[in-house]
């Protein structure tokens, strides 16, 4: 047989001896306990000792604390505000599947490569599928003259979301040829977002576009006049953090991108 509930005055007396945490737990016990444990007489001193200046500031300025047991609500609000500071940023409202990536490469004014991929078809580059780095596959035009004319190459990486577009990379003549001509990389520093975001907290971002090149079967080895014709084996795009010099996580990348696409 369960014990009989304690006399009323015992609960009231007890309530004055409990710390905020136990008071909060006790409010969840039952309706009658909640009535006792929510009393302003209990929470007013707690608020004023834990958050002296914030309590008076908020109580006089915010309509949301004029409800029943304002001091308890206020303490709950302030108490959960401290961990909120450390909490992860909210999930991005953009999803990868909403994005369409396009990559165009020009040699002079002549388009030499063009790839479009929808977000749902994007493949993560490498084994890590949490980072913002994607394999765009091969382009429609595969043959590309690279050396020694990297200076003439222009690369554009665009992102399209529901009719709006952002250009992350638009580099002319700044391609870096690496790996003895087997790769060309373009990168561009991105502007900091207009308002705060997880990406901003982690430092400025760099958008990066890289092409992997292989030997072109049709071209003669050595090429005419020292030109080596190369075949594009694949295109990769990604977002890197300048602070850590690592690719950002997908969520951080999406949170950055959503600044370009007001919903």
């Amino acid at each position: 047989m369960p014990p009989s509930p304690p006399p009323w005055e015992v609960v009231v007396l007890l309530s004055h001896r409990l710390d905020p945490k136990t008071l909060a737990l006790a409010s969840c016990v039952s309706r009658s306990w909640s009535a006792v444990m929510s009393s302003d007489d209990l929470w007013r001193p707690i608020c004023h000792s834990h958050f002296p200046s914030l309590s008076s500031l908020l109580l006089h300025s915010s309509a949301s604390f004029t409800s029943r047991s304002p001091y308890r609500s206020l303490f709950c609000f302030l108490r959960s505000a401290s961990p909120r500071r450390r909490r992860d940023p909210p999930l991005p409202r953009l999803a990868l599947s909403q994005l369409t990536f396009s990559v165009d490469v020009f040699h002079g004014e002549t388009p030499v490569l063009s790839v479009v991929k929808r977000g749902c078809a994007l493949k993560h580059a490498g084994s890590e599928n949490l980072i913002f780095r994607f394999d765009m596959g091969k382009g429609a035009r595969e043959v590309l003259e690279v050396e020694p004319e990297a200076a003439k190459l222009r690369a554009v990486w665009g992102v399209v979301v529901e009719g709006a577009a952002a250009v992350l990379v638009d580099c002319r003549g700044k391609g870096r040829v690496m790996g003895a001509g087997s790769e060309v990389w373009f990168s561009e520093e991105l502007p900091p977002p207009a308002c705060c975001s997880g990406a901003a907290a982690k430092g400025q971002l760099v958008a990066e576009l890289g092409m992997r090149l292989g030997p072109c079967e049709g071209a003669r080895a050595g090429g005419e006049e020292g030109k080596a014709r190369r075949r594009v084996m694949g295109v990769k795009v990604g977002l890197m953090s300048m602070a850590s010099w690592r690719y950002v996580r997908v969520d951080d990348g999406l949170r950055y991108l959503q600044h370009f696409f007001p919903c």
Binding site: P3, L13, R17
Partner: protein, 203 residues
């Protein structure tokens, strides 16, 4: 501290009733053995306890009654049982000179009435007594709490309330319900909302 000069043993039952007839409220209270002033408390079940007047002053309720001149005859305390009152009287005796309320007494000092009642820090012995005092079952503890509330005795309130609060302090919501015999009358949605609001307390 107080064991040597306890005067009339206050926790034992008093056999003879002090004569009180004809005394005016302004006359000094009764004198017990050794010249100490004593009063008699009578529980709801007709048990009588002799208590040193100064010890009884720890209760604001008793003090008001004494100051109103009700300390002459046995003072009826119908809502306290004999066993509860016996424990309370013993605590009053052990807490003599406890600074928590002795300070308060000094303010009402009249004619050196409390001159041997100097505040003292609670000794280890008193603390041990306090721990022993509340090592009782749940219902007995609640009875003592109610007595403390009725008597308005700060020392007694401290000891009993702290014991009850300590019992609750590290309990889960379910354990509190079980301990206090309470029924959860929230709907699942209401309880979920409350727990969400108090999420910080559950971590």
């Amino acid at each position: 501290m107080s064991s040597g000069d306890s005067g009339p043993s206050s926790s034992k039952q008093l056999v003879q009733q002090p004569a009180a007839a004809g005394r005016s409220p302004n006359q000094p209270p009764l004198l017990g053995a050794g010249g100490r002033k004593v009063i008699v408390l009578k529980s709801g079940d007709e048990e009588e306890f002799e208590v040193d007047l100064l010890d009884a002053m720890q209760s604001r309720t008793l003090r008001r009654a004494i100051e109103d001149g009700c300390g002459d005859g046995p003072m009826p305390l119908p809502n306290l049982t004999g066993p509860v009152l016996a424990k309370v009287v013993e605590l009053f005796r052990r807490h003599r000179g406890d600074p928590r309320w002795a300070d308060e007494l000094q303010e009402t000092e009249k004619e050196g009435m409390f001159k041997d009642y100097a505040p003292q820090k609670p000794t280890a012995e008193v603390k041990g007594f306090d721990r022993e005092f509340v090592s009782v079952d749940r219902d007995a503890l609640f009875d003592l709490l109610r007595a403390a509330n009725f008597l308005e005795a700060p020392g007694l309130l401290d000891v009993t309330c702290d014991a009850a609060a300590d019992a609750v302090m590290n309990m889960t919501v379910e354990e509190v319900r079980e301990y206090f015999g309470l029924v959860n009358d929230y709907t699942p949605e209401e309880e979920a909302a409350l727990r969400k609001q108090h999420e910080w307390a559950f971590q």
